[in-house]
């Protein structure tokens, strides 16, 4: 019970901080619209490339965009840690009997809530501009599920990194140099058969691509349940490893102060 209570308190603390910033709420709501409309228009003609199958580009793009938004939101999770270190909150937690795992789990739970909200916005928006989800609510739920799994891993890794580097600049550098390349080394915006061979090879080991493939397959027609299951299992393993690493990193932080 105690770990759950502690986790909830940490989650509540982060959510409070976010929802009391109107600017943040506005940006979170508007950003998905910009991406969907921008990418939808920019890459519209991809659907006419010979060999592209899977209906309209909006339908193809939506799962990719949901995954991209998930990691670009969760990747910044560690910034809140650095803020907490500067405020003195982190030290106050570490001299209290709070369960160390809760400090990561609470931050990750907050990210999961944000990702779920953002994904719902994208899915809803996609429907209004012509997207379809042949597998209905279940398919969308799996799509959002894998996106949050991946987001939770990214948030944990970002938190772990924050504890080690302890500097905003270093974290910003690391996050920007990881999230965008990983997104474009996946099939988020382009069908697998249409990307160069070397990208296809890398994508196989890219967690972002695992989430994109599983989410897209679950949300669209002709679902490959085997693919969904294996990719989800890989994402779950990644999450457990990252969460363990994030919790371990408190030791590194405490050694350095």
């Amino acid at each position: 019970m105690t770990p759950l209570r502690h986790t909830w308190q940490v989650t509540l603390r982060y959510l409070r901080a976010l929802f009391r910033q109107p600017a943040w709420i506005g940006i979170t709501l508007v950003q998905p619209m910009i991406w969907l409309l921008l990418f939808g228009a920019l890459f519209k003609s991809i659907a006419r490339i010979p060999g592209f199958h899977g209906g309209s580009y909006i339908e193809f793009l939506t799962p990719g965009l949901i995954v991209m938004l998930a990691i670009s939101s969760a990747g910044w999770s560690g910034m809140a840690y650095i803020e907490d270190m500067n405020l003195g909150v982190m030290d106050r937690f570490l001299v209290s009997p709070i369960w160390r795992g809760a400090l990561n789990a609470g931050s990750v739970t907050q990210q999961i809530i944000i990702i779920a909200l953002q994904s719902l916005i994208v899915a809803g928006l996609s429907l209004t501009v012509g997207g379809r989800f042949p597998n209905g609510v279940g398919g969308v739920a799996i799509l959002i599920g894998v996106a949050t799994l991946l987001g939770a891993s990214f948030a944990s890794l970002s938190n772990a990194l924050a504890l080690v580097v302890r500097q905003r600049e270093s974290l910003i550098g690391a996050v920007t140099s990881v999230t965008l390349p990983l997104t474009f080394l996946s099939t988020a915006f382009m069908q697998q058969t249409l990307v160069p061979h070397w990208i296809r090879v890398i994508a196989r080991f890219n967690p972002v691509n695992w989430a994109v493939q599983a989410g897209r397959s679950a949300a669209t027609q002709h679902t490959d349940w085997n693919l969904v299951a294996t990719r989800t299992a890989c994402l779950l393993a990644l999450l457990l490893t990252s969460a363990w690493l994030a919790t371990r990193s408190f030791r590194a932080y405490q050694r350095s102060i």
Partner: protein, 320 residues
């Protein structure tokens, strides 16, 4: 009397830096206010971090509230309250929300927690601010909230890291009163670190001066001051005496030392300045010197600090 805090031969070296702690030992009886004073980099923050389980020493051992800090940090954390140098409150959360979360962390909940939070809000004069985000608080209010946060779970030992740094004189004085009140009933031991010797003088039952990772002197502030060679007496004569006559007259008196005549000014030290003055005035009168003024200065902690560290406790040392 039992010891609430014991540190034994703590050594800590940070990578690429000098030794932060070089065999520091201390012990604080339960119920007392123990002050650690010294300039930045002297080692008081490192000691604070080790005793509060935030950091670990390279060698040495420590016990807080009877519990081994290195072997059972989790149990120590439950027994202590910590108020760090930085605020530690969540700026977007209100005063009450901060207190409730702190209580939940320490296992309080429901009605007991609500009661405790109300009690602390009243006690620290935060009632009106209870539902305002703490980022709108003044420096003094925020510091009071920090102390309240450290007390939610009724700790046996309270650690305060430079509690009044950055506060205006009013807020500082009211926090001093609060700290005295906390220690008043003797139920809680308080360890505080400070830059300010006047703060240590005012609050501490026991003062330890830290320099270069070691404790250079310690004891009750009064004792430390008494150990100095005594009070400084300064006399001003109506007319400058001829050479050596004053010194000769005063040398005959017992208990005076460091007699120095310079024009109309005569300086001397006495073990107990106040009781030396009548004899001194009498002796001067017999010799025909008219005295126009006398000043007596008790030794200050600055003198103690100077004597034991060999350098002045200046503003220069107070930089962050």
């Amino acid at each position: 009397m039992t010891q609430a805090i014991i540190a034994h031969e703590l050594v800590k070296t940070y990578p690429g830096e000098v030794r932060a702690l070089d065999g520091l030992s201390l012990s604080a009886d339960s119920g007392m206010i123990f002050a650690l004073a010294g300039p930045n980099g002297a080692g008081k923050s490192t000691t604070f971090k080790i005793l509060t389980t935030l950091s670990r020493p390279d060698t040495g051992s420590a016990r807080v509230a009877g519990i081994d800090v290195l072997r059972q940090p989790e149990r120590v954390r439950q027994a202590i309250g910590v108020v760090g140098q930085k605020t530690g409150a969540t700026p977007e959360a209100t005063g009450s929300e901060n207190l409730v979360m702190q209580g939940e962390i320490y296992g309080l909940s429901g009605r007991a927690l609500r009661q405790r939070v109300n009690q602390l809000l009243d006690r620290f004069d935060l009632r009106e601010a209870a539902d305002r985000p703490t980022k709108t608080f003044s420096g003094g209010m925020r510091r009071r909230l920090d102390v309240a946060l450290g007390l939610v779970h009724r700790p046996q030992v309270l650690f305060l890291d430079e509690p009044t740094t950055g506060l205006d004189p009013d807020a500082r004085a009211s926090l001093w009163l609060e700290i005295e009140r906390l220690a008043g009933d003797g139920a809680m031991t308080i360890l505080l670190t400070t830059h300010y010797l006047d703060e240590a003088d005012r609050l501490a039952d026991h003062l330890a001066i830290v320099d270069r990772g070691r404790i250079v002197t310690q004891g009750p502030p009064e004792t430390l001051k008494r150990e100095l060679r005594g009070d400084a007496i300064q006399l001003e004569l109506e007319a400058a005496p001829s050479d050596g006559r004053v010194t000769a007259a005063l040398l005959a008196l017992p208990g005076l030392s460091e007699i120095l005549a310079d024009g109309r000014i005569v300086r001397a030290r006495a073990e107990h300045g106040a009781s030396a003055i009548p004899g001194l005035l009498g002796a001067l009168e017999r010799e025909g010197f008219a005295v126009s003024s006398v000043t007596l200065a008790r030794p200050s902690l600055d003198d103690v600090y100077l004597r034991h560290t060999g350098h002045l406790y200046t503003k220069h040392d107070e930089r962050e």
